[in-house]
């Protein structure tokens, strides 16, 4: 990995942190029309996000064992991008169905959060461990690399939270913001794949 691709990986990790918290924050807005704005709504959302991130970390780590590459890394972003789309496209019918079948808004909101956010957040959670694998070159610096990566992705999360809640909700519809996240993730995935292909070509030419 060159210095440039390393910078790209950090930037992608930052963007995934940004998107995760941006989407989580909008979750409250998405669920409110069906499940209200009581405290337990946030309980449901945060539970689902934490749970799926934890599974994502496991899976991402596992996936990084065999022939890790920037192309596979980019594919994770592409899949995440596609999995985020249903939040904007199908949230209404999904929530309406759950609302009419479950009376208790605690379990209703938990199930709705699971249906909407579980899969995309698992995919997004895979990015952090996979980034570590791509960046680490020796065990001596592995802790430092992991620390730098957590720094970048958590900073992304912080900014994703504040920018979404302070400014984006004033300027855009919820679905527009979600689709914006999906598009960004998809383009970044393509960028990673493209960069990897170019790098491989250069290697062959040398």
């Amino acid at each position: 990995m060159t210095l440039k691709t390393n910078a790209l990986i950090y930037f992608l990790a930052f963007s995934s942190g940004f998107s995760i918290m941006g989407i989580e924050l909008l979750g409250g807005r998405i669920l409110a029309p069906f499940f209200g704005s009581s405290v337990h709504i946030w309980g449901s959302i945060i539970t689902v996000f934490m749970l799926s991130l934890s599974f994502g970390y496991l899976l991402g780590g596992k996936l990084s064992i065999r022939q890790p590459s920037l192309t596979k890394y980019g594919l994770i972003f592409l899949v995440a991008s596609i999995m985020v789309l249903p939040i904007a496209l199908f949230a209404q019918p999904i929530m309406a169905y759950i609302f009419s079948h479950i009376e208790d808004s605690r379990y209703g909101s938990l199930l709705a959060s699971t249906a909407l956010f579980f899969v995309p957040t698992i995919i997004l959670g895979m990015i952090s461990p996979y980034s570590v694998r791509l960046l680490v070159t020796d065990s001596e610096h592995s802790g430092q690399v992991a620390g730098g990566l957590y720094f970048v992705s958590t900073l992304g999360s912080a900014l994703g939270t504040i920018i979404t809640s302070f400014y984006m909700v004033l300027a855009f519809d919820v679905n527009t913001i979600i689709l914006g996240f999906a598009t960004t993730l998809g383009l970044l995935g393509l960028l990673a794949i493209g960069v990897n292909q170019l790098a491989n070509k250069e290697k062959h030419n040398v």
């Binding site: 069906f34 499940f35 209200g36 704005s37 009419s100 808004s105």
Partner: protein
Amino acid sequence: MFKYLLVTLLLIGFSSQAKVIHQERSLYRNILVEETGDLRCLKFDEKARKSSQSCIYKSNPQKLVFNYTKLTFASLLLIDNPKNVLIIGLGGGTLSNVISELYPDAMIENVEIDPAVIKVARDYFAFKENDKVTSKVQDGRIFIKRAAIQQAKYDWIILDAFNGDYIPEHLLTKEFFAEVKSVLADGGVVAANTFSSSKLYEHESATYEAVFGDFINVSTEKNSNRIILAGFNKFPSPVQLAQRIEKLTPLLAPYRVDIKAVSEGMISTKDNKDWPSDTKVLTDQYSPANLLNF
């Protein structure tokens, strides 16, 4: 924000005598019951002590304290004898008590998100419940959605869930008002206690108009709350209005509601749209109400 000017002035005058008689932290807020001389008030949050949610005179609990509560009764100029009343946001239960006294046969359903508020209303504000008057702990939006599924109808729906400092944003959207409209009986009326200042005024007006068409603003004091009356079939004729005022005047006198004065504060938006026509309507997709409210 400038909700309760009168009471604020009163409180400044007697602030040294204000005494907290009950205080508790609920899931949603700090609840305070404060007494100042004859006045007992329900307040949310210590810092914003000026914004009382509900007040009563201990010596005469019938006498209404707040102007906005009085303005709500302008609804009765548009409907006769409400039979099914829905109140979203209980406060001290004052509205429920008065409506129940006026119309003992009416079914009154109170919906309040915070169970602690219901308890305090019972214990300190004489909120009365019986087989006709009930209260339910639920988010107003969920209650109305379920009521719509059960095809319930109400002829008087009172929206009073805003507390001045914080607006539940999902209760101020086009989709919510459409749900409210779907449980409004033909010939019924929606009365909403809302804001008269801030940027939100325009968005709120545009959103009500998008769902209900022309509505009525009721306001008698400058910079005070406004009550929005919406969803009614048509504005009563002058004769009809005069008849209703005559009938209601003695009924509402014990509560210190001067219904004639209230009726003079009613302005239809039909010829008086005081917001720009390109104002953005608030929706479930776009509802930054709290960010617009300053």
